[in-house]
């Protein structure tokens, strides 16, 4: 099930850490342009490692990362960590401005983009606040705004909502889908939640336990926009059951040597 128009692809990626831990083994993963792909797998199966390799933060020990236009990804990707990872000494606006500042843009020149990114995540009126004055959900919104500010074509997200309460998570899931549609790009979303992946994704890639490989994948053929009604639909429940089944099979597959 290869996307027709790939934005980024991992080809035969392997990763052995200095400690000897084999985190990934011959991982192939393609994200199509304008696709919302979730990478689903148990804790410790190498999801974060795969995403960091895609972002160029960790070098792979085997295989390579292929970008659509071959160029270095710096300006074309946004990365959202599991923790909000904001600079506590800087206001929300200054945090969101960071990628532009590092690219040498002045605060004045960056202001429109920062304003737009904050508005996109519903934080327009919190620009002057400091991270500690924000709730967990708002911090994550600020973190997403920072990833959006360079108008990336690919957004990489590493379990961004895992630490949030369910109500906040639902709201952020809804808003993330509108962010994705507005950015008209690709999202690669790492999660260990079946429900979250089914709600968000156009395709789910299920990984085996460590060393992580792709076990199977499944397209979620439900139209966007999806809203809270989708969460209670029979189609949603059916997909959740199927994806859970695949995940269980993936976990069992590993026990065979």
């Amino acid at each position: 099930m290869q996307p027709a128009n790939p934005a980024v692809a991992l080809r035969g990626i392997g990763k052995v850490f200095e400690s000897g831990v084999v985190a990934l083994d011959a991982l192939d993963l393609t994200a199509g342009s304008r696709e919302f792909v979730s990478v689903l797998g148990p804790s410790g199966c190498g999801k974060s490692t795969a995403l960091r390799i895609m972002a160029g933060l960790t070098p792979p020990t085997a295989g390579n990362v292929i970008w659509a236009e071959g160029a270095a990804p710096t300006r074309r990707i946004g990365f959202v960590f599991q923790e909000p990872t904001l600079m506590p000494w800087a206001s929300v606006a200054a945090n969101v401005r960071l990628p532009l500042k590092l690219a040498g843009m002045s605060a004045t020149d960056a202001a429109p983009a920062v304003g737009a990114a904050l508005a996109r995540v519903g934080l327009a009126d919190m620009a002057g606040a400091y991270p500690r004055e924000l709730s967990g959900g708002m911090k994550m919104r600020a973190s997403i705004a920072r990833a959006l500010v360079t108008r990336p074509q690919v957004l990489l997200m590493d379990e961004p909502f895992a630490a949030l309460d369910e109500i906040t998570r639902f709201r952020l899931n809804n808003d993330l889908l509108s962010v994705w549609q507005a950015m008209a790009g690709t999202v690669v979303f790492v999660t260990h939640s079946v429900f979250e992946s089914v709600f968000l994704s156009s395709r789910i890639v299920v990984m085996t336990p460590r060393p992580g490989r792709v076990y199977d994948e499944i397209a979620i053929e439900e139209p966007y926009p999806r809203d809270d009604a989708f969460r209670t639909s029979a189609a949603y429940a059916g997909y959740c059951r199927r994806v859970s089944g695949i995940l269980h099979a993936a976990m069992a597959a590993e026990r065979v040597p």
Partner: protein
């Protein structure tokens, strides 16, 4: 179990708490001085054995000119020592952070300098250096280490993910240093500075005392040593009192500095109830 307190009463409680934190030490001081005064008067203890607080206060007024000029000398040494400790501590920490080889070569000696009692180093320094330089060197030796150790800790405790984020966006080394590492280390640097302030005063005092008999100094500690030789015990107490107050003022000033700089963002300086 008590009932959960209403927010109003929690605020009132914390306000009462902060009033107590000021009034109780003041009352303790007043009580102690009163008992001291009574003991001296009732037993008719002579002033060259133990001067009453009232006499110490009177001496503070009568000897003010001489004490004030000595205080200025000690203060100048302390703040120069502190400024050098700040520059040296932060500078060394940055150097260590930049190069592991430099850190391995120099860090043990920074520790040795720190653990060798400054009282023992002071006389040697006085042999080899002009007096003012020797006193300053003592203040620096005791004060720079907390700045170095804290800054190093601060530079090493930068959020790993933030470092990755900076790398992801192609930050230069300079950008990582000035926009990430230094701001992240600031609370630690200020914590180190607060400790260093008191230590710089101690270093200056130790060196002045060591220099005492050489006679050229005129700092507060020198006045204490000199008054001791002359059995001018009330002046010793008056000078001692001034030294304590100086230490307190330095601590309060450096705490206030940390408060102003970190107020909006750091856990250590959160406003009560905020």
């Amino acid at each position: 179990m008590t009932n959960p307190a209403a927010p109003g009463s929690a605020i009132a409680r914390s306000r009462r708490e902060s009033v107590l934190r000021v009034t109780l030490p003041v009352l303790t001081l007043a009580g102690g001085a009163l008992i001291w005064e009574l003991i001296v008067r009732l037993n008719a203890i002579p002033a060259y054995v133990l001067p009453a607080p009232s006499l110490v206060a009177a001496t503070l007024v009568s000897d003010w000119t001489i004490l004030w000029s000595s205080l200025l000398v000690t203060l100048a040494t302390t703040f120069q020592g502190l400024a050098l400790a700040f520059a040296g501590g932060v500078g060394l920490a940055l150097l260590f952070n930049r190069s592991r080889l430099v850190e391995y070569s120099l860090y043990p000696y920074a520790v040795i300098l720190q653990v060798t009692p400054v009282v023992a180093i002071a006389p040697l320094l006085l042999v080899y250096l002009p007096q003012h330089a020797a006193v300053l060197a003592c203040a620096w030796i005791v004060a720079f280490f907390p700045v170095l150790a804290n800054t190093t800790l601060g530079l090493n405790s930068v959020d790993r993910n933030l470092v990755d984020l900076f790398r992801l966006y192609g930050a230069t080394r300079g950008q990582i240093l000035f926009a990430l590492k230094l701001p992240a280390a600031l609370p630690y640097v200020l914590g180190g500075l607060r400790i260093a302030g008191g230590l710089a005063l101690i270093g200056a005092v130790v060196a002045e005392i060591a220099a005492g008999s050489a006679g050229a100094g005129s700092g507060l500690a020198y006045r204490i040593a000199e008054a001791g030789y002359r059995l001018n015990i009330p002046r010793m107490f008056a000078a001692l009192l001034l030294l304590s107050v100086t230490g307190i003022v330095i601590f309060v000033l450096l705490s206030a500095l940390a408060r102003v700089l970190l107020r909006r963002w750091h856990e250590s300086e959160l406003e009560p109830g905020g």
